[in-house]
């Protein structure tokens, strides 16, 4: 293989890899958000149930294929912990996504998206720009 072909092949390979990474990250965000919404629904359901009856009870929790009966407060705690982790995970993925997209555009020879590397204005500051 000549050097030219080799170069092109390697370049295209890298490009594909990078594109794949971007797509995976996007899909992962979607999956995590789905999970986050389900957890939120569960938390809300638990809260409503507690409001209805003040009695301390146990809840059915599903792990994969097995159902377990766990105390109410324990379940709630677990879900909250999970939720927190999901939030940070999504945040992390989003932050990583931006440089990846930038590199991808760079490799494809597209111009940089202007302004997306700026820090965002706070709500109060934005008031000075528009009402």
């Amino acid at each position: 293989m000549s050097r030219g072909t080799e170069f092109v092949l390697r370049h295209l390979g890298e490009l594909e890899e990078l594109a794949e990474e971007v797509l995976t990250a996007k899909q992962q965000i979607v999956d995590l958000d789905k999970k986050r919404n389900q957890n939120r629904e569960a938390l809300r359901a638990l809260q409503n149930k507690r409001k209805a009856s003040s009695k301390e009870s146990k809840e059915w929790v599903c792990f994969g294929n097995t159902f377990l009966k766990l105390p109410h407060c324990k379940t709630e705690e677990m879900l909250k912990e999970d939720q927190k982790q999901l939030d940070t995970e999504i945040e992390k993925l989003r932050d990583e996504l931006k440089p990846k997209v930038k590199r991808l555009r760079d490799m494809e020879g597209l111009p940089d998206v202007k302004g997306f590397d700026l820090k965002s204005l706070t709500k109060e500051e934005a008031l000075a720009i528009h009402r």
């Binding site: 979607v30 958000d33 919404n37 939120r40 202007k114 700026l118 820090k119 720009i129 528009h130």
Partner: protein
């Protein structure tokens, strides 16, 4: 003329806050079209990648060296190199000065602010000359900023509100939202229910909810519900069901001009002044505060400054005070690129008795990069007339075009361009398909050009009123 203001104002109602800057840009865009209507065929400078001028491209014809020079300046503008410099385009009337400025504006693109004013525009009773100039300057400097919001975006599958049996009390409800990937249920509190009812949200609407403020915005109706009703208001907008996650991070980058920030922050005016155009004077303190804030944002990496272009046509109409103001203003660190155009030779500087080249004082002239345009050749003139014909949707035979070119050479390019529209009308009157030689001849006899009109005046001097020549015979004329 296009109706400049009507478009944006009708879209003003119910605009999302983040959209404001975009709307403002629309306003500027429309005025841009309106002011230089005669140059609507110009799409850019017509240069290739090596900045060489193509003979005919993007509506530009000839003026190769001037366009090359403009292209180099454009490159420097894009790299942000010549902030605070000034360019003068000088040349006889009808040699494409405004066309070149227009081409530069087009080539700069959407993101760079471009303001076009005529020299005489700054003289107004409501505003001092320097205020008008300052406003024009600040209109030409853009600030690029980013806003970030966490939103929930989805299509409403179901909305259900339970009213308490007693009639009053706490309302509760449920809202089901979906995207193409997922669906979920939200429990609603009283406040949320209120804002949803206020926006008249119903199943099938695509909505966004700002996470921080809880503000609900209706984006439109889902395409899948397009056939739900037969009769629908003209405002109904159909949108695709959103993709991906429900809870999104939305980043909006927009460019606002310093002037827009000025207007919004000068208390007596308020936001609406932007659209009515009646901004009045803005206090220096307000401007200073804004400058400081913007500088701070730039330091913190929250804003980019985008130096734009201020184009002053007929610059010889400015007077000596304006020139000295310009001299000073160009030295400020937030000055745009100033492009001026004039068709004057050595003439008096307005407001003085001194003569100077182009009617511009020598100290300012010294700071300028001067581009000069020259007369069009016959071939180029023909090309321009052809482009104008296309622009105005006029079919013209080759002979007629040839004749029109001759007329253009003998009189002026502008006169020849005027004849295109009029000849077309004559042609349509006789139900012709394309403009023929006779049509041109007819309008040529109907409408005088400048030299024939002068000739006529010289011949019939005595018949007109207040004639200075032969004032003795003026008695008879009043009867006539």
């Amino acid at each position: 003329m296009h109706s400049a203001v009507q478009v944006p104002i009708s879209t003003l109602r119910g605009v999302m806050a983040t959209d404001t800057a975009q709307k403002v840009q629309e306003v500027r865009q429309v005025t841009r079209i309106e002011r230089i209507g005669a140059h609507s065929h110009i799409r850019g400078l017509g240069l290739d990648d090596a900045l060489e001028a193509r003979q005919t491209s993007q509506g530009m014809v000839g003026q190769g060296s001037a366009r090359r020079a403009a292209g180099i300046i454009l490159e420097m503008i894009k790299e942000g190199k010549i902030a605070g410099r000034a360019v003068l385009i000088a040349g006889q009337p009808g040699t494409g000065k405004t066309a070149i400025a227009m081409g530069m504006a087009q080539a700069l693109g959407q993101d760079t602010p471009f303001t076009a004013i005529a020299g005489s525009e700054i003289f107004s009773l409501e505003m001092s000359k320097t205020e008008a100039l300052t406003q024009a300057f600040r209109r030409s400097i853009g600030i690029r900023i980013k806003e970030e919001t966490e939103i929930i975006e989805g299509e409403v599958v179901e909305i259900q509100v339970d009213r308490p049996a007693s009639g009053t009390g706490v309302k509760v409800g449920k809202l089901t939202l979906k995207t193409t990937e997922m669906e979920t249920i939200y429990d609603l509190g009283t406040k949320m229910i209120e804002s949803l009812t206020k926006e008249k949200v119903q199943a099938g609407d695509i909505i966004t909810i700002d996470k921080a403020t809880g503000k609900v915005t209706k984006l439109g109706r889902s395409f899948t519900r397009a056939r739900d009703y037969d009769a629908m208001g003209p405002q109904t907008k159909f949108v695709q069901c959103p993709e991906g996650e429900l809870q999104k991070r939305k980043e909006v980058v927009h460019t606002v001009t310093l002037h827009e920030i000025d207007v919004i922050n000068s208390r007596t005016q308020g936001f609406l002044a932007l659209f009515s155009g009646d901004t009045g004077e803005i206090k220096t303190e307000v401007r200073e505060q804004i400058n400081a804030k913007v500088a701070e944002w730039r330091e913190e990496g929250k804003a980019d400054i985008v130096p734009g272009v201020l184009f002053v046509d007929e610059v010889h109409m400015l007077d000596i005070e304006c020139f000295s103001f310009l001299n000073r203003a160009l030295e400020s660190d937030m000055a745009p690129i100033l492009i001026m155009a004039t068709n004057r030779g050595i003439t008096k500087i307005r407001g003085t008795n001194y003569e100077s080249p182009h009617g511009i004082p020598l100290d300012l002239l010294d700071r300028l990069l001067i581009i000069s345009t020259s007369e069009y050749s016959e071939k180029e003139m023909k090309q321009i007339l052809k482009i104008r014909c296309e622009e105005e949707d006029v079919e013209m035979s080759d002979d007629a075009l040839m004749l029109l070119t001759r007329v253009g050479i003998e009189t002026s390019l502008r006169y020849a361009i005027q004849l295109i529209t009029t000849a077309n009308l004559v042609c349509r009157k006789r139900k012709g398909q394309e403009v023929e030689v006779e049509d041109i001849k007819r309008v040529y006899s109907l409408f005088l050009d400048e030299s024939r009109s002068t000739q006529f005046l010289i011949e019939y001097q005595q018949e007109f009123m207040f004639s200075e020549k032969g004032a003795g015979e003026s008695e008879s004329m009043e009867v006539a």
